[in-house]
């Protein structure tokens, strides 16, 4: 069953897709968005291990439900497997990762190298972030780098892609083909600057943006109104960040400890009033998706279900945002299946063959 799915390279799932006119990358996410379909992205909880299976198992639960998976770059300044490493593993298996690049840990020399390396591995989407301060994480004694900021990082990637040059002006023999993303937070002060900041990001090169967790839909609606008035929704795809809250207690903890997440009192009250808070949190997330998907200018959702990844499929299913569409799903190839059918017993049967036996059966 090679190439039977849409957005798959017939020559192999790990290969980039055919270039298309008007597209800057050879990835799946850009195709989905440019076709005008409602995109779903999610975040992979990076493992604290050196076992590739940990990454594959965590990616498997999203199969057939999401269009791209964010490989986070030490989010919250906590140490995990690097985004480059996760992307290397995911691209091998045909997934469409969004490689996050944070400015906190790497200077411009390292970052430009990683952009080239990532693109060479087949990463089509890169998300340029400033990154949380080191004080937020498990190693507050680390040196914060912040050589570039998200804006100059976006511009650097755009220059590498469009002009085929490093920031220094030195030429690239093959420029990376990228779909560039950025983050927005419409819920933090200065509120009236936020839409203009999106404009700056678009000017710097952002083609899609993923927002911070949205729990305050009216606030997001006013933000989108301003963004539409400024004409930014035609230049950029907006994906709204959503996610289930596990309980009212976690919501309160997040509100006071995680910078930049705005949770209104009404949300906490609703969770507190519920019998099963976890279920209510999921329902709340679905309700928010149903509300934001109707806002014009919204091109998709970014479901962040930290440590509740198994709910992503249910949330996407129950909210019906895919409208019956099935995103790319990893399937076993027909020839692999044939080999497995005929020779699979070798793995499972407990046969001990001695050389003497082998010689006997050979004649």
């Amino acid at each position: 069953m090679i190439g039977s799915q849409r957005d798959e390279n017939p020559a192999g799932i790990h290969l980039p897709l055919e270039p298309m006119p008007g597209h800057t990358s050879r990835g799946r996410l850009e195709r989905v968005l440019r076709r005008g379909e409602f995109a779903v992205t999610t975040e992979l909880n990076p493992p604290d291990s050196a076992d590739p299976e940990d990454v594959y198992n965590r990616a498997k639960i999203f199969d057939g439900w999401v269009d791209a998976i964010n490989a986070v770059d030490a989010s919250g300044a906590n140490c995990h497997m690097s985004s480059v490493g996760i992307c290397a593993l995911l691209t091998r298996m045909g997934y469409a990762p969004i490689m996050q690049i944070a400015c906190r840990d790497k200077n411009r020399i390292a970052i430009q190298g990683d952009v080239l390396g990532g693109a060479a591995m087949g990463v089509a989407n890169m998300l340029c972030l400033t990154g949380d301060g080191v004080q937020a994480g498990d190693q507050p004694g680390a040196k914060p780098v912040f050589d570039l900021d998200c804006m100059s990082l976006l511009e650097t990637c755009r220059i590498m892609r469009d002009n085929g040059k490093f920031l220094s002006g030195r030429k690239l023999t093959t420029p990376p083909q990228l779909f560039l993303g950025a983050a927005i937070n419409p819920f933090a002060p200065p509120i009236d600057f936020r839409p203009h900041r999106l404009g700056k990001k678009i000017a710097a090169g952002a083609q899609f943006v993923q927002s911070q967790y949205c729990f305050d839909v009216p606030m997001f609606r006013t933000y989108m109104q301003k963004v539409r008035d400024l004409g930014y929704t035609e230049q950029c795809f907006v994906l709204v960040g959503v996610g289930p809250l596990a309980s009212a207690k976690t919501a309160k903890w997040i509100r006071s400890n995680v910078p930049g997440i705005h949770i209104p009192d009404s949300v906490i009250k609703r969770l507190e009033g519920a019998q099963d808070q976890k279920k209510e949190g999921k329902q709340l997330c679905i309700d928010i998706i149903n509300e934001v998907k109707e806002i014009s200018g919204v091109s998709g959702v970014h479901v962040m279900a930290y440590r509740q990844e198994e709910y992503v499929a249910e949330i996407v299913d129950e909210s019906g945002v895919l409208k019956g569409r099935q995103p790319w799903k990893r399937e076993i190839r027909r020839d692999d299946q044939m080999v497995a059918d005929r020779l699979g017993h070798i793995l499972h049967d407990d046969i001990t063959e001695t050389q003497v036996d082998m010689v006997k059966t050979a004649h």
Binding site: G133, Q135, S152, P189, K200, G260
Partner: protein, 203 residues
């Protein structure tokens, strides 16, 4: 025998002074947090329009003095000018001497005071009260920058995308660099005009 007192560090003082409920990030140097007062910096932001006007006149004056700087030599004058610039801007804006001043594009709020040194706008971590994510008792530099830029005539300069910081210009005088560049631009323009006039005359 020795009456060794337990050393009282700044960190201990901060810990005692701040209420227990306060969020205390571990990495922020307590020295910085104790010693800093933001009164002058905030005054500068509130009077950004006045300072913008003043800065424009000041830049013109520096450009007028270009022959003098050139006469003495920009290299030789760098030391004394930097000495003054560092202290004046240090007092007014808590300047960090990045050497590539963009105060006029950031509402007279120095972006290098941002713990992440962002030069293109606020990060997503700004607290609901408008304070910094990293230093909870400091007003976000970019919230102030936005306020300051609203007062200014060329406030929309805050919307231009700034290039990454050139670290090799640290601890050099931005005033002299801007003046030298303006003078060079003026000379180039004059030369181009001359050339145009000459070709016009010869034709």
């Amino acid at each position: 025998m020795s009456d060794t007192q337990p050393t009282v560090t700044q960190a201990t003082l901060v810990k005692k002074a701040a209420p227990k409920s306060d969020y205390k990030p571990a990495d922020v140097s307590p020295q910085r947090r104790v010693q800093r007062s933001f009164a002058v910096r905030l005054w500068s932001v509130r009077h950004s329009r006045l300072l913008e006007w003043f800065y424009a006149r000041f830049a013109d004056m520096f450009l007028l003095l270009h022959p003098l700087w050139k006469g003495i030599g920009y290299g030789r004058v760098e030391g004394p000018v930097k000495f003054v610039e560092k202290r004046v801007k240090g007092f007014m804006f808590d300047c960090r001497m990045c050497g590539q001043c963009i105060l006029s594009s950031t509402g007279m709020s120095c972006p290098m005071n941002c713990p992440k040194q962002l030069r293109n706008g606020p990060c997503g971590g700004v607290r609901a009260n408008g304070n910094c994510e990293v230093e909870p008792d400091m007003p976000c530099v970019w919230v102030k920058a936005w306020e300051g830029s609203q007062n200014m005539v060329h406030g929309d300069r805050i919307l231009t995308v700034q290039k990454p910081v050139d670290q090799s210009l640290r601890e050099t005088s931005a005033w002299l660099r801007v003046t030298a560049q303006a003078a060079a631009a003026r000379e180039a323009a004059a030369a181009a005009k001359n050339r145009a006039a000459n070709t016009g005359a010869s034709a």
